[in-house]
Subunit: 237 residues, 6 copies
């Protein structure tokens, strides 16, 4: 029934390749099927003004798509002179999600910026960005700990995200672009390794949804995130 022939609860293949750029403190290329996102974590020994002299650190994120990551070329945001509302919404979500998994006191007064740049898009780029962004963050923090700059691990747990939706009347896990563009309801779930929730976003695209349908999406997401966390563990091992 799904365009890809996947079962309703079947995710796309996940691959997380680490240390893919030589300059960043942490980096990975995450592939969720045909969605490919390059994630880098950049460490700076300074924090935004509102955190100076508080002893606390900050994690923030930026998101972008290469102009031809999509089926037809999209205008380069640097050329149009501003980030779209969609881009800003996504990068705010990534930053908020990663911060929910970190002890900012343990990080100390430093900032880590996670850049998520979509090389190729086929649906679910924000979820892939969160899952891959956490890996880049983990690797950058590992470097800090190895160097002895921090002693207590500031990462509280894994953070990963998956999309679900109601496609052709059925709850399905991990939407690809053909599904995403036709889904009646589209949801993103960000969770921890322990299965606690960080962010839930469900949105009626073409049709409203019932509480029962929403519970089905949530159940699919719990299984999906567990898979992603396992892939993160393998990647950073």
């Amino acid at each position: 029934m799904r365009p890809s022939g996947r079962a309703l609860d079947q995710m796309r293949d996940i691959s997380i390749e680490t240390d893919v750029t030589k300059h960043a403190e942490g980096s990975c290329l995450i592939r969720c099927g045909e969605t490919h996102v390059l994630c880098t974590a950049s460490l700076e020994e300074r924090v935004p003004p509102f955190l100076r002299n508080t002893g606390q650190g900050w994690v923030t994120a930026e998101y972008g798509m290469l102009p031809r990551a999509t089926t037809t070329r999209m205008r380069r945001e640097a050329a149009s002179g501003k980030q779209s509302g969609r881009t800003q919404e996504i990068q705010r979500l990534i930053g908020r999600s990663l911060r929910a998994g970190i002890d900012r006191q343990a990080l100390g007064e430093r900032q880590i910026t996670v850049d998520c740049d979509v090389i190729q898009a086929d649906g679910g780029t924000r979820c892939a960005s969160i899952t891959g962004g956490w890996v880049a963050l983990r690797l950058a923090v590992n470097k800090l700990m190895k160097a002895g700059d921090i002693t207590m691990d500031p990462l509280l747990d894994h953070v990963a995200a998956v999309s679900c939706g109601i496609y052709a009347g059925q709850p399905v896990l991990d939407l690809d672009y053909p599904e995403d563009s036709e889904a009646g309801t589209d949801a993103n779930f960000v969770m921890t390794g322990a299965g606690r929730m960080i962010e839930v976003q469900a949105s009626a695209e073409g049709a409203t949804f019932s509480r029962n349908e929403f519970e089905s999406l949530l159940a699919l997401a719990e299984a999906g995130v567990a898979n992603l966390v396992a892939a993160q563990k393998a990647a950073v091992a």
Copy 2:
């Protein structure tokens, strides 16, 4: 326990005053406690380019805050030269929510722009904007129907929204600003008059949340939205 002395499941007083400006096709001033939002619906006999010659209409929304709607003055977005990511995220949510409650074919090739301008803020401005925005939209559509410009009512159901959160460890309904700024989890629910869901957004601000906690918020919201829909009905009667 709540700063306002309200019960955990008690909403703030709601007041919806209609026809508050003489130019707009529909308008209201919604007051949810000390949060006051002026909502206007403006009708145009044209649609965005992607809808031309499709026979379908469009509903969109814009959101703004007067500079001194808040405790301390915020910079005017027109002066800073761009809308913040928060503003864009909110107005995208309002537009998406209102569109979920409309039959765009029945509306015909015309556009209704709902402007939500916060006169005074005390938490929950995006939810008040959706609830009040629907009233302005309803009034503008009534005018179209009365004039015989459309014959079938394009509004499928009421659309209203409420926030909930986990404050001091307890699920509470309809956060005001003192609660919102301290809440561990903050959620917004947009629903129809029939109790179907349009948008669910829950976000861990200071602490992750369990599935059980999330279910409690959802139950509170269902009751809250029912109240808001009743207030809408009274206002447009």
Copy 3:
């Protein structure tokens, strides 16, 4: 002869409601007929860089119109990414006018920002903004004096403004929008309570004007401002 049926030297009804928002140090909603402007005065204990360590304060103003304050919806300036030349010209005028009525040494090193947001427009919004802005400023200064933060009243006199114009060949007082859009000459006069002049702006829109005609406008304005000052006195009493 006037569309509204008013006499040539008859103003619209004036109403000034004070303390209309809970956060601002001073606020009012001024209604000049169907023109409604919300004015707030916001106090900050800092001055622009060029005044630091001079012992002098500053008063500045910003002006905006809600998108549907007008007959047809205008584009939101925050969305278009800049304030129009008209907006900038008006807010410069408001700030200049209010500063002319203040002893900046007596104010001390603090800044008061007066925001004038047009809720509904029917001509004369810049004049209503000045007249209402002065009331908001007066209330904010009263608060400072009551708190003992300043001992000498920095407000030297009332400041109020009115428009006049040559409509259908006749000098008339206090133009509403139907008159304003047809007037051959359009003038704005800002004066003090004592009748001294702060700003005179007269502009040939469709036809040049003689010195005699100009003198007639000036005489009308003197009477009009006296009325406005009386309304201000009643409001802040």
Copy 4:
């Protein structure tokens, strides 16, 4: 008493050199003392959208200052990414003033853009721009008439402008920069060759002014504009 030693009613030397650039349809370099402005008039056979198919033409103006036209270098507006409020206010005034002296029906559906670029500033740049801008406009219209493109002269009369002010308590004509920066009141008058008024702008900079003082400024301006019109006549003869 004046820093320059001029009498109270004495203007600076005026020089208007015409045809100073080879590309523009009309051009002049106007020198009012040490204030030098290059004015060009550019003709286009198209009008703004709101005038299409109306048979009417348009005259508009743009104003700029070279970065080092002033005592200390000012930031280039093209580099800062926007025109200041002052620039916009001035160019709106120039355009409005020149349009008041033209029969737009007689001009036909074409647009003339008058660019006024200040090469060197010493006070009174907006007045010099209007006076010089009219000369450039006159020359461009002459070219149109000579070519037979229009048969009736669309220019109704001369348009010229001068500043006056109250300096050291005395009304003086044609302020230079040292006077302008110290003047208690600053006024600009735009008039026609016949002495009718187009624009009056008087502004209390440091002190309010009486009606009598204002009348003195007006009388000075009438004499000043007559001088400028004579210089225009000599230049375009």
Copy 5:
């Protein structure tokens, strides 16, 4: 003597991997040592306004760097709201260079946009972009020809680019970042497969250079471009 231990006339390893993204009509990942650039060619069946109805096509280019392509993170241009002067200069060079190698009449009225996004930077990104951009363009044109949309090959010859410089007093070929940042003179040469020149840019960074030194750079470049053209041929074979 060179930081990398290379001989003065020795280039870095070149690798060109083609068809690296699934959406673009042509794409490659070019690696010149540690400089990695992703190049895509996007075809559109429309041309810029100035070419409509001329029968001629257009090739244009855009350039960007991922924020952490560099040693320390650079601000994302989309976030800062504009492309830097350097970015604009580079993308103008890439577009001009590729257009010099194409018969725009043979291409027909269509546009190909070449996007060059630097994944990792180590000097010479503009040269790698040109060399890789040509490969992406070649592949996109091949697709057009295979589909029978054009019959005559519009690509006149290969286009490739290499940098040279005077480092530690010696002319060297293919500067990496440590050399580039220290070089007294920095030059970029764009040439065709036949060795004809498209663009020469030589710039004194720390010291002026003699005609003799310049000739040495030119000779090195001729050899370098020949190598790059061989790599292009292998890649597109």
Copy 6:
């Protein structure tokens, strides 16, 4: 053969008028045929942040064209809200060229900004800007030395620039606009008084060029720059 009737190696008449504005520390109006550029040098006793406390100074440049410097009016960059890529490329070239001729240690911690504003354009504006900009810089430095603020002359040599190109198949010196718009190859050469090279930029506009052709252009440029340096010497004598 040349539209102007000049010999292949014949330059246009050069005129350099100095001290043309009263405020700038150094200024000139350079005329290369019908190309006229006003150059000013502005001195500030501060340097950009990256040079603070280094004892070194900075020279930078900005470039602009008056809207009607060209055959048809171009949009004012201040009005369009940004400098074009061409403008930025040119001003970067001017600044880089002038810095190559200065000992920044000898200049001390101060900045000189050279503004080059094109009053009338007929090809070669960037070269005229460099040649005239150097004169303005020389005059400003002379003032510093005369005042005893610096003791060692920081200007190492003259800096001047000329364009060459292949027009109608022939190498020609000092292109005017009719030649520039038709030339197959267009090159700019910046050199010192001693004939050493600062910047070489050659670009195939319509046809690629051979090494031999390039050498011819270089030879023409060497003669041309010598002429320009002689004109500079005469101007500043």
